[in-house]
Symmetry: C2
Subunit: 146 residues, 2 copies
Amino acid sequence: MKENREKIQELLREKDIRVTRQREAILEVIFESEKPVTATYIFSRLQDGCPNLKLSTVYRNMNLFVGKGILRKLSLGIENNESYFELIRDEHHHHLICIHCNSVLPLDCPLGEFEEKIKEETAYILIDHSVKIFGICPHCQKYSKA
Amino acid sequence: MKENREKIQELLREKDIRVTRQREAILEVIFESEKPVTATYIFSRLQDGCPNLKLSTVYRNMNLFVGKGILRKLSLGIENNESYFELIRDEHHHHLICIHCNSVLPLDCPLGEFEEKIKEETAYILIDHSVKIFGICPHCQKYSKA
DNA sequence: CTGTTACTTGCAAGTCATTTGCATCTTTAG
DNA sequence: CTAAAGATGCAAATGACTTGCAAGTAACAG
């Protein structure tokens, strides 16, 4: 975990963002989590480590990070309308969402040719897209026969 | 327009929903619109025709209609978190969304084989999916060179 | 037609996620 | 080390949506 601290500071400087205790803590939580997280998740994870951090600060920084290209905001369309955020580590991918436990898995992008076709047919300028597949993960298949 | 009234009443009876002035009016707006609509859009369209309709009534009925399989609720992930609703007319399809004017066009489904692959690879039970493509429509390309 | 009953609505207040104004810190460049 | 640019805490505001309740209305039996 300690190494993350360094990486995070470097990342922030790279992106011209001031290094504050709060921002380090927030990013640390995000780095430690494989799955996309919500602002309230981060907030609760930091109740101890960063005692008088406010939720509004978390939100403010999530927006900052999204604007700086560090995070991506997902609208997963899960029950409550909470937004999920994930690190932009990487290459383009999509999400497989378990509707029972809300866990999220990455998927490769199946579009490509399809986008070409759409571009030609509609004359839209295509900017981005998202593919979400909803299902029930093996674990929930076992343990929540509802 | 007048013919819709009949269809709507029939639809409501079919689904065991009481026929009220409000519900007819709401569905009429939805039937007249090709694109998915928001609750507030419906509400504003009915300010004249249905004077003391309340927004809460619109929401209540949107939920009812979704529950009865008349409408589908979309989470398009557009700026504000307003939900869009569309008639379930039909076959499975997806959406092409203009990020300037928020208009929505239907798209054919490009998955299929991809889902098969995912099912095998992950052992998830797949339930549903959504594909959204974001872009700029020809009209906005012309008129909003921002 | 009329009454009864159950379902709906209007209205107002309440949630819940997220944002914002402002005074008070903190970071950072000089 | 210090000033200024920017962050944060705090509290209140916003916006989408929901809910409790009393009054209104559809539907159905008679």
